[in-house]
Each structure stands twice: as C-alpha cells, then as structure tokens.
C-alpha cells in the first residue's frame, strides 16, 4: 500500500533514549528504527516498561532522543526548539492519550474548538468532526457526562481537528469493554485508510490488532516486526 516515493509520515532511524540516572538508568529506546507511511495504521505491543510510551514521546516531539533521527512528514523534529516543537505538534501531530485526554471544564464541541483556536484554525468544523466519530448527539456534554468509549471518540475527534498527518495513540482502549474497543480502533483504522492519516497506536489489547496494517513488538527498548496471525 505504500510506495517508497511518498514522504513517510513518520521516519525514525536509530533512535536511542536513556532515562533515569545512575542505577536507575534504562534504555527506554535502543536503536529503534521505524517508518510509517500516510494511510497506514501501525500497532505497537509489548510488555509494560518496554518503551512503548517513550517511542510515542520521541515520535511526537515531546522528548528528544539521545541520538538518531526523527522525521515527521519530512521535518526533522529533533532539530526543533521547544517552542517550535510545540507549534509543530499543534499543526502536524494529533495525540490521543490513554485517559484524562479531555479538559474537564469543556463540552465535546469546546474540546475541539479549543484545539482549533490554539492552531489559529478557522476552517475547522467541530460539529462535522464529532458527527464523523458518532458523537453529534453528545456535542454539548462535558467529559464527566460521557462514557469511557465516548470520551475516547471525542479525544480522537480533537486529535484530528487540525488535520494532522500523524496520529499518535497511547493505549486508547485500556479503560474500555470489548465492543467499545473495537469501535474505537475501527474508527482509527477508517481515519487512516480514508483520510490518509498515519496512525501509530500503542496497545495491550491483542483483540484489536486485526484492524491494523502492521503490528510491531517492543521488548526492552528494541522494536521488532511481528507477523499478523490473521
């Protein structure tokens, strides 16, 4: 599905990241390389503490690797200053976090409007986007009035509001039941395939891997491809 000529949405080459000091020092990322093309949804699995969140942090310009290259949509994000990285995240990268994704004080619509305002994005259409994740009927609800699955949908809609080319998703189904988990991941896969967004999703939930194009496995900071048992 990907041709070598397209600009990869995410390209990591030989990234290393050490965390902690002294005895607590760990190789969170150990020579990690990864390429994700537009329209692809990639799952990252692995035991707890293996470095999955660290991979997302590095891919999302939230943390700088000690060495290696990270390019998002052609831009070397390791070279960006802090404020430039902030700006870059706003326009090019969407985040969906495991929990506490949403701002307690804001309704579903306002979550999207705030993200659009931050980016100075006047063309965003929060209502349509909420509709596309099946949340039109909950547009005026605040997070405490939504179910876990509904919150994740709103979170996904917010991550998409500024048309990012890369969507980074950390354990989106951790707090959800089976049916909602499938709904959420199906939604992400559809976004990838229809809108050409590249999605990297960290998950512990092996049930939902069937919706992904590739599955990568992380062990002790090393990343390996895993063949889908489909």
């Amino acid at each position: 599905m990907s041709t070598p000529s397209t600009t990869p949405a995410l390209e990591i080459v030989g990234a290393r990241l050490e965390l902690g000091d002294g005895d607590a020092r760990v190789h969170a990322l150990d020579d990690v390389s990864l390429r994700v093309d537009p329209g692809e949804i990639v799952a990252v699995v692995g035991p707890s503490g293996s470095g999955k969140s660290s991979l997302l942090a590095v891919a999302g310009a939230l943390a700088k690797p000690d060495s290696g290259i990270v390019r998002v949509h052609g831009t070397d994000v390791t070279a960006l200053a802090k404020s430039a990285a902030t700006r870059f995240r706003l326009t090019t990268i969407g985040f969906v976090f495991q929990s506490g994704n949403l701002i307690a004080a804001l309704t579903a619509t306002d979550q999207l409007r705030l993200a659009a305002r931050l980016a100075g994005n006047r063309t965003a259409d929060p209502a349509a986007l909420l509709g596309s994740v099946g949340m039109a009927h909950r547009a005026d609800h605040r997070p405490d009035q939504l179910s876990g699955g509904e919150r994740q949908r709103v979170g996904i809609a917010r991550a998409l509001v500024n048309d990012p080319s890369l969507l980074l998703v950390d354990e989106p189904t951790a707090a959800l039941d089976r049916a909602s988990s499938h709904d959420v991941v199906r939604l992400l896969a559809a976004r990838a395939h229809e809108a050409g967004v590249a999605v990297v999703m960290v998950t512990h939930d092996h049930d939902v891997l069937e919706h992904c194009d590739r599955v990568l496995e992380m062990t002790d900071g090393r990343l390996g491809e895993r063949v889908l048992a489909a």
């Binding site: 969140s53 997302l56 942090a57 999302g60 939230l62 943390a63 404020s83 902030t86 700006r87 870059f88 995240r89 706003l90 326009t91 985040f95 976090f97 495991q98 929990s99 506490g100 994704n101 949403l102 701002i103 307690a104 004080a105 804001l106 306002d110 409007r113 705030l114 993200a115 305002r117 931050l118 980016a119 605040r142 917010r158 991550a159 950390d170 354990e171 951790a174």
Partner: protein
C-alpha cells in the same frame, strides 16, 4: 480566555468560595479606608483646613502632643515675622479644655487662639467670626454636642464663660475634639491662669502681660527664599510642615500606624490566599495542563489564560466587595469617625486586585513546570 471563562463556569462553586474571600477582604479594606480617613479628619481636620506652610514649635518640644506642650514667646514670633521669605507668621494657641453648656451638658473643646483677622481665622458657615473677648466659633460638628449660636460654655475650674457666635464652614476637629476658635488675646488670658470667672472683659485683657502662644504658624512667600533651618536656629524653634505636624497631634501617629499595619496585613493575606487557591487549582489540573501542552498550547497562552481568569475573578469580586463596603459605610452611625473618599477607596481596590493578581501570577507560573511528556502513559 476561551478556557479560563469556561473553567470559571465549570468550577463555579470553588471559584465563588475564593471570590467571597476576596470580596470580604475588599469590604474590610473599604471599611478600614473609611475609618482611617474618618480618624484622620477627626484628628487633624482643624489643621488640614489651615492655609499654612509650616508650624514652628519651641525647640526641644517632644513630638507627641507637641501642639499642647510647646510654648513660644513674642520674640520668637517676631524673629519669624521678620525672616526673609516669610509672608506672614502668626501665633496659634492650642489647649484642650472641658466645659459645661448653659443647658448643663459636658463638652470637650480644643481652643485655637488665633488673630481675629489673621490667616488662621476660619471661614464661618453661620453666625459671625469671633472678634470680641469670649466669643468662639466652633466646628460644625459641635452641633451634635449640643452647641448652638448663643450657647454659653463655662470652662471647668476657671469658670470662664465663652459664647458661641458662629460655626466653621468645614469640619474642624483636633485630637478627636471639636475646635473652638477664639481671639488669641482671650486664649492668652485663659492660658495664663489669671482669668476670672464669668465672661472675659476687655479690661482683664488690657491688663494682661502674657506674650506666649503654643506655636507659630508660617506662610512662606512665593519667592521661595525662606531658609527654614536658619530661621529655626535664629528663633530657637523647630519647624514641621503642615503634614508633618499631623504627627504632633494627639494620638495621630498611633492611630494611623495601627490602621496602616492592619491594611498591609489584609493586602498580604489577600495575595497569599489567592496565591494558595491558584496553586491548588493549578496542581489539580496538572494532567490537563500536560495534555494541553502536548497538544500544542504554548506557555504564553496558558499563562495569559490563567492570568485573565484570575483577573476576572479578582475584579468581579472586588467590585462586589467595594460596593458592599460602601453600602455598609453609608449605614455607619453619625458619631462614628468614618468618611469614604473616592481616591483612597479606588486606590485600595486597585491594590487589592494588583496584589491578588501577583499572588495568582506566582501560582500560575507553575504551568511552565508541567512537562507535556507526562500526558503519555497511564497516569491517573
């Protein structure tokens, strides 16, 4: 302030609680401001009304209660009158006396002995200026003590009888006692202790040799050539400007210092309480702030939003508190020394808001310490 306003609405319970504290501080600040203005007026309005540059006290007079302690003689007065750069210098006699009205009411009066036609002689709103011996012009506030035109006041011990012939145009009190202006000659007669019971007569005054007064009131000329220090040395006096001299009136320094200290504490409490509130508020939202920063909110956006939020809170509730304070001020009983003046009240409100904002600002700076990377992972 997209986020800040919505948070105010969302967490209105918490913000209202904080706001009520701010409003109460504002009420107290207003009441204190009214009280201190009232006390100042009560303490020194008699001096405030005088068109005087400075007062010369006898050298070595203790500052506290200096007006009633100081004694200057006519020689010192003459030195001042003749000094270059002095437009006019006049004697002022100050003493605090007790008396009884002809209706049998006890009154306290501060006697201000002044030259009847001099610059210290006050404008009157009713009646006449005091000219003859035994005629007094009293502060309009003395009406509540039972004084009226024609009332005779008999001074305790000496039995000297004074008659109210006029009321001053402005409030004139000194050391919380109503001022009675009388001719300096009559004042000297009373101060010398040689006055006989009954109304003072021109004969008694003519026979008196008592060349003293309390202080010398000085008006400087326009050419600014007056060398106060030199004249003080020459005359054996020490000068205080009119405002410095406020401290020399009874209780003034102690009262204003106490009130200033209470006010400073209130401001500090306001800043600290608001700071503590916003510290807790910011810490509660650490994860949200991390999410916002990860999504791409800049530090300056978060700071501006937070400051705007605290400003709305502070302004809103300070205005409420000031309004309540002014309302309560209007209900104060007449006898209470309370006077609300727009400038001090406005200043006090602004200081409340600014210091509150300072406290909030320090707390809100915390957002810069929230690392966006903490939004990742299974926090919470």
């Amino acid at each position: 302030m997209f986020l800040g306003l919505r948070e105010l609405r969302f967490a209105r319970g918490r913000f209202t609680l904080m706001g009520v504290v701010i409003a109460l501080v504002a009420v107290l600040v207003v009441l204190l401001s009214g009280l201190s203005a009232g006390l100042v007026n009560d303490g020194v309005s008699g001096l405030k009304a005088m068109r005087v540059m400075s007062f010369a006290f006898d050298k070595g007079t203790i500052t506290d209660n200096a007006f009633t302690r100081s004694v200057v003689d006519d020689e010192q007065l003459a030195t001042w009158s003749a000094a270059p750069g002095v437009r006019a210098a006049e004697p002022l006699g100050v003493s605090i006396v007790n008396g009884t009205t002809d209706a049998g009411r006890q009154v306290d009066l501060t006697l201000f002995g002044v030259e009847p036609d001099g610059f210290l002689s006050p404008a009157v709103s009713s009646g006449a200026r005091s000219a003859g011996p035994g005629e007094i012009v009293v502060s309009q506030t003395a009406a509540s003590a039972g004084l009226a035109l024609g009332t005779k006041v008999t001074l305790d011990r000496s039995g000297v009888e004074l008659t109210v012939v006029g009321f001053t145009a402005a409030q004139a009190t000194f050391g919380h006692v109503d001022v009675a202006y009388l001719p300096i000659d009559t004042w000297r007669l009373i101060a010398s202790g040689s006055a006989q019971a009954g109304a003072p007569t021109p004969q008694q005054i003519g026979a008196l040799h008592y060349p003293y007064s309390s202080v010398i009131a000085v008006q400087a000329g326009d050419d600014a050539t007056l060398d106060t220090a030199r004249t003080d040395t020459a005359a054996g006096t020490m000068s205080m400007t009119r405002t410095e001299a406020f401290n020399a009136s009874p209780g003034y320094q102690a009262e204003t210092m106490t009130l200033t200290m209470i006010r400073a504490f209130l401001y500090a409490i306001c800043a600290l309480v608001v700071g503590a509130f916003f510290t807790v508020w910011t810490i509660q939202r650490t994860h949200e702030i991390a999410v916002l920063r990860a999504v791409g909110a800049s530090t300056s956006y978060l700071l501006r939003d937070g400051l705007a939020q605290s400003l709305v809170l502070l302004l809103g509730f300070t205005v409420l508190g000031v309004a309540a304070g002014v309302g309560m001020g209007a209900l104060m009983p007449d006898g209470m020394p309370f006077s609300l003046e727009p400038v001090p009240v406005a200043l006090a409100s602004i200081v409340t808001v600014v210091l509150g904002l300072g406290g909030a600002g320090v707390a809100i700076l915390r957002v810069t310490r929230v690392e966006p990377v903490t939004a990742l992972g299974g926090h919470r």
